[in-house]
């Protein structure tokens, strides 16, 4: 087995392990030494900026033994007996230029010598504060009684009055509720309507004219068989993974940059995107999918390819938003772990465990101690997310080097380019040294210059060249890297932090899982993070939430609203399930069928419930306006990706090849441009015609074609997307060059594919609505063409041009109409 090589791209995020503080009190001599030589100096020279009663600069509190050993943002100030790992020692010696303490005047040599002696003798310190213990009023056993914290139980489908209607158990659950409310299910949907719904739901694309014809033919012979064949056909299409992978990417807050204050690119994030899409296409069991994303690096493997895939999967933990200008490494480490806790628990468990970071969870039985137990697992994990070290990026890390090289690398570096870069590197380094000397001279002479700024800029240039060079071996072959995680060399011992403040450690806790979800307390191994155990527990039948949360998400995508409408919150402030028995039934079935998502989808789309018409019924509407009982199929609006993709499909320009990497990867490391990146813009100009899931996905900088139509905000775990109908969408549809280009291409296509206008009109409706035009629509189209020509004031010279413009406008009309954008 090959271990992943780790290369250094920039500064290393280290995590400081808290020292065990249980030791005896100092002896008499030790005490005397401390009181006469050390305490007075601390009080006189340090407390002003580093004590509880004054300030706590840099998170460093020097007025207790705990504080001095725990240290501040950069690590422990004093490690007993270990000068090298005592930042206080470095600081009082003025050994590093930006680290000189006390800042105004260096301490006398004799005092510094006292500190050496004190640290070497074990830093005896009587200033033991009362141990802070964060207590909780939460009764966890009582909390376990809440419905979602109990394991889903097998359910028998209920008896129903109308025995004819149901074709599956799911239908019986739905029908029983409808009957109890005095409601009837809607009639079956028209075959064409149903097919369009199915195509969009499973692949995010409409059926083509050939699909429609094939289906119509088969339908005449045997409707059920025809439909089933289409279901199987779609589930085995590559388009399926692109659609359902995207749904998971919403949940996984997938993006290709850090977002926040300094928006740095993640040029390797696309590997995780492809991993997700491939996993859906391969129908990877959901439990395995979860295990790989949480602890792929720790799972047993067969070969390098397996290893590669598992490492990429852990990108789930690395692709979150990050505030890279955070000054304190410790604060950053806690924030990173918090983001991982938040995403993992919302995405997989439908719980907001992060709410318990500063105080007990306000509504769910999750004490702060449980939060730190779980965070301890992630604090025992190193996250490799890369990002190049430029001005304002203080927190970049290495990346994981992968064992298998790319067959088609995203970028290459010729020998010539390599030489040029190396030369630039040498020049920059020389210039750097020269500047350093000049700066020192200027300082000595008391001249003020901008050398500091210049040095910083040069440092950025050097690290950017460095990053590029390190991406290739001597022969110019691209090395492959991924974002992901590894265990720390030894596990972190978590303490509760009072109100979440890093300088206020309270009692120690064991690493573990939220207790309300566990029958037995877990014991994690002492020599590893516990992430593997977490992954196995999350993806097990023992966990009451994982299967429920996933089947609920899937139901929501197919039926327009979920059984539990608060998809990321199954806690007590979430919503109660509309069909609790059905939810459990589906969860248990899902696990029984080896957590197969395709099987679940197949089961659901074959129900009669899914195949209902979306017909409106005012009496039913009065009783159940949200349609939470499923008296009809809820009409759905197609999302941003499906809208763009189906315009490209109608124009015949959709490129179904998966692009290698992504635009962000091609652009490489660095800070994303402000304002909007030109790459985002090129997606609008018709240069990128592949499916929307592959468009560049920088945080706070999504391409306009997606950004306007309520995409998932990658700063958050997204279940159900927002839906708006606002005029900036209308303006885009009416006027944006991308839309007009698709209309033009569609017009050209129809001109060659059909001979008469009448045929072209029909075909256009089929392409856009997946149904033939009505006579009235054909008449309306003819009238439109005529009105357009009249309004254009045509004369014989430009007649062809105007005719063409009218036809293009007709095509655009269909692309921007409501029927194109809604599913019945």
């Amino acid at each position: 087995m090959k271990l992943p090589l780790i290369i250094i791209l920039s500064g290393v995020a280290t995590l400081v392990l808290a020292q065990a503080a249980d030791e005896g009190l100092p002896s008499g001599d030790e005490l005397k030494f401390f009181e006469s030589k050390i305490r007075p100096v601390l009080v006189e020279s340090c407390y002003q900026c580093h004590s509880t009663d004054e300030k706590i600069r840099g998170g460093l509190n020097l007025d207790t033994r705990e504080g001095i050993r725990h240290g501040g943002d950069s690590g422990p100030a004093v490690t007993p007996g270990d000068l090298k790992n005592s930042l206080l020692w470095t600081a009082i010696n003025w050994a590093e230029s930006d680290y000189e303490m006390p800042p105004k005047r260096k301490l006398p040599a004799s005092v510094i010598a006292d500190f050496r002696q004190w640290i070497e003798m074990g830093a005896p310190d009587p200033r033991v504060a009362d141990k802070v213990i964060v207590k909780t009023d939460i009764d966890i056993e009582a909390g376990k009684q809440f419905w979602s914290f109990k394991k889903p139980a097998s359910q028998q489908p209920p008896a129903v009055k109308d025995r004819q209607w149901p074709v599956s158990d799911v239908d019986r659950f739905v029908l029983a509720k409808l009957e109890a409310s005095g409601l009837d299910p809607a009639p079956d949907a028209q075959p064409g309507t149903l097919l369009r719904r199915l195509y969009f739901d499973l692949t995010g694309l409409p059926p083509s004219i050939e699909d429609l014809e094939r289906y119509a033919k088969a339908w005449k012979k045997d409707p059920d068989k025809a439909y089933e064949a289409e279901v199987d056909r779609l589930l085995s299409s590559e388009r399926y993974g692109e659609r359902w992978g995207r749904h998971w990417l919403d949940v996984a807050r997938y993006a290709e940059s850090t977002g926040k204050e300094v928006n740095m690119a993640f040029p390797q994030a696309w590997r995780y995107r492809d991993y997700v899409i491939n996993s859906f296409n391969a129908d990877k069991p959901y439990d395995e999918f979860i295990r790989e994303q949480i602890a792929g690096d720790l799972l047993p493997i067969k070969d390098d390819n397996d290893w590669q895939e598992n490492l990429i999967a852990t990108g789930f933990l690395a692709i979150g938003p990050k505030g890279l200008n955070e000054r304190s490494p410790r604060q950053f480490a806690y924030d990173l772990a918090d983001e991982q806790v938040d995403t993992t628990t919302q995405a997989i468990l439908g719980l907001t465990v992060s709410c318990a970071r500063c105080h007990d969870h306000k509504s769910d039985p999750i004490p702060t101690a449980d939060y730190y137990s779980l965070a301890g697992i992630f604090l025992s994990t190193k996250t490799y997310f890369g990002t190049v070290n430029v001005i304002q990026n203080r927190r970049g890390t290495k990346l994981l080097e992968l064992p298998v090289p790319d067959r088609n690398p995203v970028s290459s570096l010729s020998m010539r380019e390599q030489e040029i870069l190396q030369k630039r590197m040498v020049d920059s380094e020389n210039r750097f040294s020269q500047l350093e000397v000049e700066a020192a001279q200027d300082r000595a002479a008391g001249r003020s210059t901008n050398a500091g700024q210049q040095l910083q800029r040069l440092r950025s240039v050097i690290s950017q060249i460095n990053a590029r060079l390190k991406g290739f071996d001597e022969d110019g072959n691209a090395k492959t890297f991924a974002m992901g995680v590894q265990d720390q060399s030894r596990p972190f011992e978590p303490t509760v932090l009072l109100r979440g403040e890093i300088e206020k450690p309270a009692q120690k806790v064991e690493r573990g899982f939220p207790r309300v979800l566990c029958d037995e307390p877990v014991a994690l191994p002492e020599n590893s993070s516990g992430r593997l155990e977490l992954a196995r527990w999350l993806a097990s039948r023992e966990n009451p939430l994982t299967a429920r949360v996933m089947v609920n998400r899937i139901w929501g995508k197919l039926f327009g609203s979920s059984i539990v409408t608060s998809e990321n919150n199954f806690g007590s402030t979430g919503k109660a399930p509309s069909h609790p028995e059905l939810l459990d039934y589906l969860a248990v079935k899902f696990m029984d069928k080896n957590w197969s998502i395709k099987s679940l989808l197949r089961q659901l789309v074959l129900t009669r419930t899914y195949r209902m018409s979306s017909e409106f019924h005012s009496a039913a509407f009065k009783k159940d306006p949200e349609n939470s009982l499923q008296w009809r199929h809820t009409p759905k609006k197609i999302d941003a990706e499906a809208l763009r993709d189906s315009m490209l499909l109608a124009s015949g320009k959709l490129d179904l090849q998966r692009p290698v990497g992504s635009e962000i990867a091609r652009r490489g490391d660095g800070r994303l441009g402000v304002p909007r990146s030109p790459r985002g813009a090129s997606a609008e100009n018709g240069e990128l015609n592949y499916r929307s899931v592959y468009l560049p996905a920088a945080r706070d900088n999504l391409p306009e074609a997606l950004a306007l139509f309520d995409p998932a905000d990658p700063n958050l775990v997204t279940g159900k997307r927002e839906e708006t109908n606002v005029p900036d969408q209308a303006l885009y549809l009416m006027n944006n060059p991308f839309v007009i280009q698709q209309a033009e291409a569609m017009a050209r296509r129809l001109m060659t594919e059909a001979d008469t206008h009448r045929e072209r009109f029909s075909k256009a409706f089929l392409l856009c609505y997946a149904r033939p035009a009505t006579n009235e629509e054909i008449e309306a189209t003819k009238a439109f063409m005529q009105n357009f020509l009249i309004a254009a004031g045509t004369d014989s010279q430009n007649r062809d041009k105007v005719n063409n413009l009218a036809f293009v406008s007709f095509c655009q009309s269909l692309l921007i109409s409501a029927e194109f954008r809604y599913l019945n």
């Binding site: 706070d700 606002v726 303006l731 060059p737 309306a780 293009v808 009309s813």
Partner: protein, 461 residues
């Protein structure tokens, strides 16, 4: 012919008017402009304000460092706070002084706004339900943090319509991504939702970061069709849409498409003019601090707010972020205050000079306040039990303070004003009775204030 209002009266489900009106496009246009859902409607009683400019400070600014002067907190600096162990009171590091004839106490962080002390009505007894940003933001905007409900802007538009059907009646400037429900219409018709401009995640993003006075508005004109031909095209699109709507009887989404297309079409003419600030005098720009570096972005938003207000937009919301000062308060709070001080002061001056302040209600608020005790020595934690917001203009007493928090600023003790009361008061100033402004949905009448809310009559001028 039936209008939407007639239908709303005659049908309990709020089935859209368009479904019943197979109209030729001229009529449709006339209706959507004149009698449609955006048409001006009579308020319940004589309004004191015709429009609202809501300055939303996201992240919750500290009240005890800005508008709630607490001398006792300064005296007790370093003593244990009332919320228990280890929490030490932190007196404001900033000086307060009295301003204007009224002598309101305002912190040195906001000198320009303080110069308008005699216009301000400080609401010092505010409190809200939860000390968490998302919930508190949502309740501040919709009156409910648990369910998706219409926002106050949508309610206002529903209640009053707008005086300019060629612009959205509810506009949100600089809204952050992921906040759609703060501007949403929920079960109210889609046309009442806020149109968002100048937020990063959307296509019109980055507009306000540009220095030029004629910002490029994306997708504002069709490169191939003149307006006349585009109208012919749009008529065809709407015919298709209306056929769909008739077929389906009830389809709020389709109605939303129809209305947003019409509004978008009209905005092609109105928006460029509105966004073009090149005609504004140098003096005006200076008033808002535009061209003065850090204030530019928010200054431009404030200027646009005035222009939208002038153009007849009913509800204008401006977002300003990063007020969550758990740490680094000593540097970050002055920085945030510096960003808003001049622009807001400029807005107040400008409105006043144009005679608009008397019928424009300006509201300044965060989602809650911050603790009188410190956090990590240089920050404050969330505090929902007591905080301060203010109003100015349209019908409120200037140079007035209403309500109070305790001696340290933990809890509202006098003139207590919950978000529901605050909403009821805002609606009252607009001439709307919060108990009568209802919408029937799912078999019952909904209100912004649910079953709560008292108008703070004490603050009415």
């Amino acid at each position: 012919m039936l209008t939407r209002r007639d239908l709303l009266k005659s049908t309990s489900s709020g089935v859209g008017y368009l479904a019943f009106a197979a109209l030729a496009h001229e009529q449709a246009l006339a209706e959507s402009k004149a009698g449609g859902p955006l048409a001006p409607k009579k308020p319940h009683f004589k309004p004191r304000a015709k429009r609202v400019i809501f300055l939303s400070m996201r992240g919750a600014p500290s009240h005890v460092d800005t508008f709630d002067y607490k001398p006792q907190l300064a005296k007790d600096n370093g003593k244990a706070g009332r919320s228990g162990r280890g929490r030490k009171l932190l007196g404001s590091p900033w000086e307060f002084s009295q301003h204007g004839k009224s002598g309101l106490w305002i912190s040195e962080l906001l000198p320009e706004i303080a110069s308008h002390a005699d216009e301000l009505c400080l609401l010092k007894g505010m409190h809200t339900d939860l000390p968490n940003h998302p919930q508190a933001q949502t309740i501040m905007h919709t009156g409910n943090s648990q369910f998706v409900r219409p926002s106050i802007g949508a309610w206002t538009l529903y209640g009053l319509g707008t005086n300019n059907a060629d612009l959205p009646g509810f506009v949100a400037l600089g809204a952050p991504p992921g906040s759609a429900n703060h501007f949403g219409s929920a079960f109210l018709p889609a046309i009442y939702q806020g149109a968002r401009f100048g937020s990063d995640a959307r296509g019109l993003g980055g507009r306000f970061s540009r220095r030029d006075a004629q910002p490029k508005i994306p997708n504002i004109a069709n490169p191939k069709l003149d307006r006349n031909l585009q109208r012919v095209q749009l008529d065809f699109v709407q015919r298709l849409n209306k056929t769909k709507l008739e077929r389906e009887k009830f389809a709020p989404g389709v109605e939303g498409v129809i209305e947003s297309l019409e509004l978008g079409f009209r905005m092609q003419d109105t928006l460029p003019e509105l966004m073009d600030t090149s005609g504004e005098s140098r003096k005006t720009l200076e008033l808002y601090g535009i061209g003065a570096g850090g204030n530019d972005t928010f200054g431009r938003q404030c200027l646009l707010a005035r222009r939208f207000a002038e153009a007849g937009v009913r509800f204008i919301e401006l977002s300003h972020g990063n007020w969550d000062h758990h740490r680094n308060m000593a540097t970050d709070l002055p920085a945030r205050c510096g960003e808003i001080d001049k622009p807001i002061s400029g807005l107040l001056t400008d409105l006043k000079e144009r005679g608009m302040l008397e019928d424009t209600l300006v509201v300044w608020a965060g989602e809650f306040g911050r603790t009188p005790h410190g956090q990590g020595g240089d920050g404050r934690d969330h505090n929902n039990k007591g905080y301060t917001t203010w109003m100015a203009g349209g019908g409120v007493k200037g140079g007035f303070e209403y309500g109070a928090s305790d001696e340290h600023g933990y809890e509202a003790v006098d003139g207590r004003m919950h978000i529901h009361d605050w909403h009821a008061t805002i609606l009252h100033l607009l001439g709307l009775d919060h108990e009568k402004l209802t919408y029937r949905h799912a078999g019952r009448d909904f209100r912004l204030t649910d079953v709560h809310g008292n108008v703070a009559r004490e603050i009415l001028s």
